[in-house]
């Protein structure tokens, strides 16, 4: 599971859908890895548009990284030389940082989801469907 993906998923329980607390999930006991992958500045820019930056900061902190700037970088251009450094940093954070194993907890209902073999599992037990 890419760090990026933590920004796109919330608790799957229906009664949590209205709750502010069901996103982002809280990440704990996570085993992280750095997986080198091809740098695609267009991809990073497109994703940046869709990111909820506050959630990025929050999840990064869960995972022990408290150095993420509080403001989302804006106006980056994939073809501008000056923007490459920050785009590469974002690539490394969003795409190359992966969670191999770990827990995701909903702050609204307390349900715990697992990340197994780098795939997050959002299946629900019978009493939550």
């Amino acid at each position: 599971m890419k760090f990026l993906t933590t920004n796109f998923v919330k608790c799957a329980v229906k009664s949590c859908s209205a709750s502010q607390d069901s996103f982002p999930l809280k990440y704990s006991e996570c085993q992280l890895a750095k997986e080198e992958s091809e740098y695609n500045p267009d991809f990073v820019c497109h994703m940046l548009e869709r990111l909820d930056w506050d959630a990025i900061v929050k999840v990064a902190a869960d995972l022990g990284n408290t150095s993420i700037p509080p403001q989302k970088p804006e106006g980056l251009d994939p073809i501008m030389e000056d923007d490459q450094a920050i785009l590469r940093d974002l690539h490394s954070l969003l795409v190359e940082t992966v969670i191999l194993e770990g827990k995701m907890t909903c702050s609204s209902c307390g349900h715990i989801y697992h990340i197994k073999n780098s795939i997050p599992n959002f299946l629900l037990p019978p009493h939550l469907v």
Partner: protein, 441 residues
């Protein structure tokens, strides 16, 4: 506007028009294909310029190539007269370029010796540039339609077109070989045919930088096809084993790498589509999928059939931990109706797609009880295409919807069509498992 000639492949003729129309639409090109005739692979269309012609052909799977049409007729003599009439004033522009001649024959062809004679007969074009077999500036092509399929092969063409090659298609450049399932690192019993998954993605208007979601991703056939067209792909499936694959060299990630698409891959997640974890404001541009219909892969959702039996299980504790919160907990599944799942899919698409965004999925239908009533419907979706693919004993169809410009809270769940869908599906399953009566073969 000028005339261009499209030469199609002999595959899925009933899908051609939707593919080319969708590619034109994707590029903002107005194109009238109402005269398309499934029985012939040649189609004359009107376009502004080469640029437009390139755009509608380069990604195409069902087209082979597109040509600026210089002249045509039922005999070479007619072709020459027509060519001089229509393009006579243009010949000079090509005087100095390098070029070659090519032949395309449908249901027949010419002997090599005869080809030279044909080329000679075009001497009036006055091209002086050297002939170059490799990478010439221009390729001039003689396309010929011979006898109809049921006759014996003939050597005299019924109709001849002459034109300048503008663009060959992805198919002609061997894309089907590249995506051939037999060469793919990771496939499974649910993997979807490469040709049809690429066609689906063209009709779905997958494009560079668009987020494409497959909620029933399985082994990821639509994810690799969508990534081929520049899509940023994300998938989910209730079955974590198919998402995980066998090992590092044999899984969805390995496929993405094989096709050089790893940098467009978002992620896959284990998820019951009906309890979706993608946050509602995460915009999805396109949905392409092959929902489960119970033939090979049981359609299931999380839950238990009889909740009373499972009551209080949430209190079970193992090693001081709630059982259902443990990493190795096995989530019980129960059967679900395809009709309901398709309604869920349509509602989801309405919530997540932008206006004009496409939902494209395959569904089964039994051959001899076809009725258009069986097509799921939603007030906020326009049904653009309904395309049948016939097998021996059954058929399936590709349904393509586009999100409408108005919001509506109605879904077909409360409406009659859902019931008809349900009837069709259970009917289909029952019939599939029972086998077919001889009359339906």
């Amino acid at each position: 506007m000028k005339d261009y000639l499209i030469y199609f492949a002999q595959a899925y003729p009933n899908f051609r028009r939707s593919e080319i129309e969708s590619l034109a639409g994707l590029n903002g090109i107005k194109l009238d294909l109402s005269h398309h005739d499934e029985s012939t692979p040649f189609l004359v269309v009107q376009l502004e310029n080469d640029e437009q012609a390139r755009k509608i052909m380069e990604r195409s799977i069902l087209g082979r190539g597109i040509y600026e049409l210089w002249g045509d007729g039922n005999s070479l003599e007619e072709v020459h007269v027509n060519t001089k009439l229509r393009y006579g004033s243009e010949f000079d522009r090509y005087k100095q370029i390098t070029f070659k001649f090519d032949f395309v024959g449908y249901m027949g062809s010419r002997e090599k010796k005869n080809k030279f004679e044909v080329i000679e007969s075009f001497a009036y074009l006055g091209f002086e540039g050297p002939i170059r077999m490799k990478n010439p500036d221009e390729v001039f092509v003689v396309l010929e339609q011979y006898e109809q399929p049921d006759r014996e092969k003939s050597t005299t063409p019924l109709h001849i077109w002459f034109g300048r090659q503008v663009q060959l298609s992805a198919r002609t450049e061997n894309i089907l070989d590249k995506y051939d399932l037999k060469k793919r690192k990771y496939i499974g019993t649910t993997s979807f045919d490469a040709e049809l998954s690429l066609i689906s993605c063209n009709i779905a208007q997958v494009n560079t930088g668009k987020v494409v979601y497959d909620p029933f991703a399985g082994t990821g056939s639509f994810l690799v096809a969508a990534a081929n067209y520049g899509g940023y792909v994300v998938g989910s499936d209730i079955d974590h084993r198919s998402l995980r694959g066998k090992n590092e060299k044999c899984n969805i990630w390995a496929n993405m790498k094989q096709y050089n698409s790893a940098s467009q891959f978002l992620d896959v997640m284990t998820m019951d589509f009906t309890h979706n974890a993608l946050r509602p404001d995460f915009q999805i541009d396109t949905i392409v999928c092959d929902p489960p219909y119970g033939v090979r892969e049981g359609l299931k959702v999380c839950g238990v059939k009889d909740p009373t039996k499972a009551a209080h299980r949430e209190n079970v504790v193992i090693d001081g931990e709630k059982a259902h919160l443990r990493r190795d907990f096995i989530h019980p599944k129960k059967p679900y109706e395809l009709a309901s799942l398709l309604d869920d899919l349509l509602s989801f698409a309405v919530q997540r797609l932008p206006v004009g965004g496409r939902l494209c999925f395959w569904m089964p239908t039994a051959n001899d009880e076809f009725s258009t009533d069986f097509i799921p419907h939603h007030d906020s979706l326009d049904l653009l295409y309904n395309l049948d693919q016939e097998f021996n004993k059954w058929s399936r169809r590709l349904l393509v919807y586009s999100k409408r410009d108005h919001q509506s809270s109605h879904t077909s769940v409360e409406q009659a069509p859902a019931a008809t869908v349900s009837k069709n599906i259970s009917n289909f399953r029952a019939r599939y498992f029972k086998g077919f009566s001889p009359s339906s073969k």
